[in-house]
């Protein structure tokens, strides 16, 4: 379903500089969109047009198929449905306290006192700032201000949230928190549009990318399509995402292969598959191209997980009875990624899961879960980039636990399952404290035999 659409949009500033020209975009509901371009390429102006703040000289904007009207009543509707978060939080936060700033939007929508209070509480809880609600903005850090600005927009419950450079001026952990937050809103059905010149972010995060340069749209498509086009990127004054660049370099050296462009570090690791060759003794009668079952290996012969079932394809048989085989490994006792929903939290249960589940790596996503863990003295190994790092640990046969809450549980579950499906590497994924949770894979120690290789 198309939620926002523009047709040959044009806007020129009063001094004659063209800010956007001939922009045609279609934004589908529930997508994560990134507008990528240099500074001054017209992204911010486009956003003000999409929010009804500026009126285009030419072309039109359609919201749910109906063209924008610029009378005050229609504008109100549009601004309620399309929220915008500015690049500089100080421009956006104008009330003397956090609470009053977040309440500004809902109060303008004419909600009752109780309803305003409820939306503000809800929004602040979501961004993890409930405790700071009586603080004045100048006592907050940059990341906190950004979250207040986002809460101020969220409290109006818009269908589309537009963020202009959401991660500029934030430290890496603060940036990760904002990305987590955006993913969570998206999971609950909001359409998210961001502008950025951070190609890594656009490549990793978005579903669909628009490239802008000199006030025009010069390219669009999925991140994998757009960032493949070196020429296009050069024209836009951008470079390739780091992950993709590394991948191309190792691919050129024959050390990696894959069908998709890897987006995250686990994806990248998964493409690292040099041919795994080995000399083995083969029984007579085996011919080149046959499959051999080599059984279970462990120790130094198992490279991906503690125990591996290995099949081999015979490539070449030497006259003395030995053959070169290509190994296909399949982890048996692979690691796993377990999720724990902290909405139903009990310290005792978490401790037990960590002990009984032989969990060696614990991470927390979201402010609430981090605070809980800190309070109860649960040692956290990782607090940012949690999903990726947990997948990487699970690939090495380690067992990981992620503490998280709300929509982030499903988001994390989806991401990890996607990885398992895509890579074909099996490891356990599941939510512990939920109906139909998961049990650890049964140990396979009982029937291991040493192999004479």
């Amino acid at each position: 379903m198309i939620i926002l659409e523009t047709r040959s949009l044009k806007y020129t500033y009063p001094d004659g500089t063209a800010a956007v020209q001939d922009i045609n975009i279609e934004i589908k509901k529930g997508q994560k969109i990134a507008f990528v371009g240099q500074n001054g390429s017209g992204k911010s102006t486009l956003f003000l047009l999409l929010n009804g703040t500026l009126k285009p000289q030419d072309g039109e904007i359609l919201f749910h198929g109906a063209p924008f009207k610029y009378d005050s009543k229609s504008l109100r509707e549009i601004r309620k449905s399309v929220g915008i978060v500015f690049q500089n939080s100080d421009d956006q936060i104008f009330a003397p306290t956090v609470y009053q700033d977040v309440a500004f939007g809902p109060a303008n929508l004419g909600y009752s006192r109780e309803r305003v209070d409820a939306s503000v509480q809800h929004a602040l809880e979501h961004v993890g700032l409930t405790r700071l609600k009586d603080k004045p903005p100048h006592h907050l850090s940059g990341g906190q201000k950004k979250r207040v600005a986002i809460a101020g927009v969220m409290a109006m419950e818009p269908e589309v949230i537009i963020l202009d450079e959401p991660l500029s001026n934030l430290d890496p952990v603060g940036a990760d928190e904002i990305v987590d937050l955006l993913n969570e809103f998206n999971h609950f059905g909001s359409t998210i549009i961001i502008s950025t010149h951070d190609v890594d972010l656009a490549y990793r995060w978005s579903d669909y990318v628009y490239l802008m340069s000199n006030s025009k749209l010069i390219g669009q498509g999925t991140p994998a399509e757009v960032f493949k086009e070196q020429e296009l990127l050069k024209k836009a004054g951008l470079r390739q995402p780091t992950t993709l660049e590394i991948y191309h370099e190792i691919e050129r050296r024959g050390l990696a292969y894959g069908k998709n462009s890897p987006k995250t570090i686990p994806d990248l690791v998964n493409t690292l598959k040099p041919l795994d060759l080995m000399w083995v003794e083969v029984p007579p009668g085996i011919r080149e191209g046959d499959s051999l079952n080599l059984g279970v290996m462990y120790g130094e012969y198992a490279t991906n997980s503690p125990y591996e079932a290995i099949n081999a394809t015979v490539l070449h048989i030497h006259p003395d009875g030995r053959a070169i085989v290509e190994l296909k490994r399949k982890g048996i006792k692979a690691g796993g990624v377990l999720l724990y929903d902290t909405d139903k939290y009990s310290l005792q249960e978490v401790r037990q899961v960590i002990k009984d589940g032989e969990i060696v790596f614990v991470g927390a996503m979201g402010k609430k879960s981090k605070t809980l863990a800190e309070q109860d003295g649960i040692r956290l190994d990782v607090t940012s980039g949690v999903i990726d790092k947990s997948i990487l640990m699970a690939l090495c046969g380690k067992r990981c636990l992620i503490l998280t809450a709300g929509g982030m549980v499903d988001h994390a579950l989806k991401r990890t399952r996607e990885y398992v499906d895509k890579s074909g590497i099996e490891f356990t994924v599941g939510v512990i404290n939920r109906e139909g949770g998961c049990k650890w894979l049964d140990e396979t120690d009982g029937n291991l035999g040493e192999l004479g290789i």
């Binding site: 601004r79 421009d91 303008n108």
Partner: protein, 260 residues
């Protein structure tokens, strides 16, 4: 970061006490202090208010004394002049300075002590308010006192942007200092001028941005202010009553007393 009075007020535990109670205490102190005819009551009020600010309000004592020093210095110099040049009663102390006779007389001293005590009690009362009630709590009071809506809205916006511009001014000043903008008097003047004009232009731009930001959240010409309900607890009420009664009693019994 520079700490201003408002920051101490924001961190004070007394911030969460009912605003009207605090205002009542302050106005009571001001009125009683000024109308007292002996210096004892104002001194008592000054002591109580200082105690409340430092002990209950957790204002650092050193900071509080430093703060008090500036106006107290003024008051003291004025008081010394009064002591020497007014009154006509019995001489307590006299000497000649460059063959000009100077004398402190009893009623002159009495008067000067009264002036000192009154100004001190007034200052302590106002500091109590300033150090325990941040501006953001006072907006609700302004609203309840039926001031025009637009006045309150403006003051809220101004309050917020004071800090934005303060930060901006400090960083501009820093940028000028590291490039020797304040190395001599002439340069200081011209740097100051540049700072002022830059700030003016920036604040102009900020106004535009502010309008944009408010508009994009459906601004319709009215900023709603939600007052936080803070009920007065029994202990607070009791303590205030004890203070009021003892101050009034002191006022009554020291009405005709002269201390000298």
């Amino acid at each position: 970061m520079t700490n201003i009075l408002d920051d101490y007020a924001l961190m004070s535990p007394l911030r969460h006490i009912n605003n009207w109670l605090k205002l009542a205490i302050v106005f009571f102190g001001l009125l009683l202090g000024v109308s007292s005819t002996s210096p004892i009551t104002p001194f008592f009020i000054a002591f109580c208010m200082s105690f409340a600010t430092v002990a209950f309000g957790r204002t650092p004592l050193k900071f509080y004394l430093k703060l008090l020093l500036a106006p107290a210095g003024f008051a003291l110099t004025g008081v010394i002049v009064i002591a020497f040049f007014s009154g006509s009663g019995q001489e307590l102390l006299s000497f000649e300075l460059a063959s000009y006779p100077l004398a402190i007389r009893a009623d002159g001293l009495e008067l000067s002590l009264l002036v000192l005590s009154r100004s001190l009690s007034g200052m302590c009362c106002l500091y109590f308010l300033a150090l325990t009630t941040p501006m953001i709590e006072l907006f609700a009071v302004l609203k309840a006192s039926r001031l025009p809506e637009s006045f309150i809205e403006l003051s809220m916006l101004i309050y917020r942007y004071i800090f934005v511009f303060l930060e901006m001014a400090l960083s501009i000043k820093y940028a000028q200092t590291v490039r020797l903008g304040y190395s001599n008097f002439r340069r200081s003047l011209s740097s100051m001028g540049m700072l002022g004009s830059t700030l003016f232009i920036r604040s102009w731009e900020q106004g535009d941005k502010l309008f944009l930001a408010m508009n994009s959240r459906c601004y319709d010409g009215k900023m709603t202010l939600f007052e936080v309900k803070r009920s007065v607890r029994a202990a607070e009420m009791l303590l205030t009553s004890v203070y009021f009664l003892s101050a009034l009693a002191l006022f009554y019994f020291t009405k005709n007393i002269s201390i000298i």
